[in-house]
């Protein structure tokens, strides 16, 4: 059976390039699965857990938003940041989330930084969520 080639890259480095049977991606409108032969498309990606299934084994990565391009049995994941869920520093994520929430307290929703802080909160919450799926 045909396999997918999955590549995850971040601005800082190439995280991985592997073969897989299926990829489950946190898209802009919820999770979507990609199998070989999928129609080509380009989607936004939200922070969350990206799961690869290879010979029945599941492997998950946390991705911090970005883009996914699917075409010719290739899945290109351009993430702002990515890491294996097993390596997530949950304490650090909690701390960053709390700090961002703290900074947001004094801001009005029109503040230029407001959206950025909000994005941080969402990202870190997704990171913690991804870490929890690893344990479950």
């Amino acid at each position: 059976m045909a396999k997918l080639t999955v590549e995850i890259v971040t601005p800082e480095k190439r995280i991985l390039s592997v073969q897989a049977d299926e990829a489950i991606v946190p898209g802009g409108r919820g999770l979507f699965g990609v199998r070989p032969g999928h129609t080509p498309f380009l989607s936004l990606m939200e922070p969350g857990a990206l799961t690869l299934i290879e010979s029945g084994r599941r492997e998950s990565y946390f991705v911090a938003g970005g883009f996914v391009e699917v075409g010719n049995d290739k899945v290109l994941v351009l993430a702002d940041a990515a890491e294996p869920v097993t390596g997530i520093d949950v304490e650090g994520a909690r701390r960053r989330m709390a700090e961002a929430q703290e900074r947001m307290k004094g801001m009005s929703s029109e503040d230029a930084r407001f959206e950025l802080e909000q994005a941080t909160v969402r990202r870190e919450a997704a990171r913690i969520g991804a870490a929890n799926t690893a344990r479950a």
Binding site: P11, K13, G28, E69, L78, D80, L116
Partner: protein
């Protein structure tokens, strides 16, 4: 003529200096390697992003793609961002950027205003000492140079472009050519100039021209792609600048080390000559003293 003791002291001091420049050269060589790895590691993402954007504009065909960051407007107010280093002793690295920035200021006096902002202490010090107004110093970026930090700077610049404070943003930086050569470059960061030319489009993109789907829709994807491309452009310029800095410092220190070696050679020669002269003089004194006793 300098006394033997003076020359000895001089030689010792030059040797110490050479020790330091040699050490700095080796440190820079190590840092340069790391910085070069950083440039290489950033390449796949940048290439793929360019590819996606090129494919997207190729597929769009005649339909116009519009995005505020792509739309040029009459340029009246410009922001110039200088990428210099925090430390000196890197040959012409910082002064080249500063000279280029000054030229930019001269050449564009017809503009309503040019704002300066700096990354790196050296550029900031130079213009502050000359009483130039610096809008913002993005300090401390080099201590934690990662994509996020670069994106924060880029987002700030994008915000001032979007709210009309400036009509264009340029960056001056050292482009990394090889370990021993850098060229100063002025690049336009905003508005973003090219969206990737159609001939760059991959075959994967063109074969599926017809029913390519966008999730949620093409405009939303574009709205996220364009700022991302700006961030990446700045991030790469920063990486290049850092690699150039270490390359420039490495060759500057290499030169300093070999100059010190030459100097030690010359001083040693002078030292030996002086020593000889002193011995000869003493001998002559003894001989003539003995001659007088006869």
């Amino acid at each position: 003529m300098a006394s033997l003791r003076d020359i000895r002291k001089r030689i010792r001091s030059v040797k110490n200096t050479r020790q330091i420049t040699k050490a700095m050269k080796m440190v820079s060589a190590a840092k340069l390697r790391k910085a070069q790895d950083g440039i290489l590691a950033a390449r796949p993402y940048a290439t793929m992003l360019d590819q996606i954007i090129a494919d997207l504009s190729a597929r769009a065909g005649d339909e116009s793609l519009s995005h505020p960051l792509l739309t040029a407007r009459p340029v009246k107010r410009v922001e110039l961002v200088l990428l210099t280093s925090d430390r000196g002793l890197a040959g012409g690295f910082n002064s080249n950027v500063i000279r280029r920035a000054n030229r930019f200021l001269y050449e564009n006096t017809n503009l309503e205003s040019i704002r300066l902002s700096t990354v790196g202490r050296k550029g900031n010090d130079f213009f502050r000492n000359r009483g130039q107004n610096i809008r913002k110093d993005f300090g401390g970026l080099y201590q934690r140079l990662n994509y996020r930090a670069a994106a924060d700077v880029a987002e700030e610049l994008v915000a001032s472009y979007l709210n009309g404070e400036v009509d264009a943003v340029h960056i001056v930086y050292n482009e990394f050519v090889t370990a021993i050569s850098q060229t100063v470059k002025v690049a336009q960061l905003l508005p973003l100039q090219t969206l990737g030319t159609p001939d760059q489009a991959s075959t994967a993109g063109s074969t599926s021209l017809v029913d390519f789907k966008y999730e949620p829709d093409r405009q939303s994807v574009l709205d996220r792609l364009v700022p991302q491309a700006v961030n990446i452009k700045l991030y790469r310029a920063l990486l290049e600048s850092v690699a150039s800095e270490h390359g420039a410092r490495m060759s500057a220190m290499e030169n300093a080390t070999s100059n010190a070696t030459d100097m030690i050679g010359n001083l040693t020669l002078t030292y030996n000559r002086t020593r000889q002269a002193v011995i000869t003089k003493e001998l002559m004194e003894i001989v003539s003293g003995a001659e007088a006793l006869k």
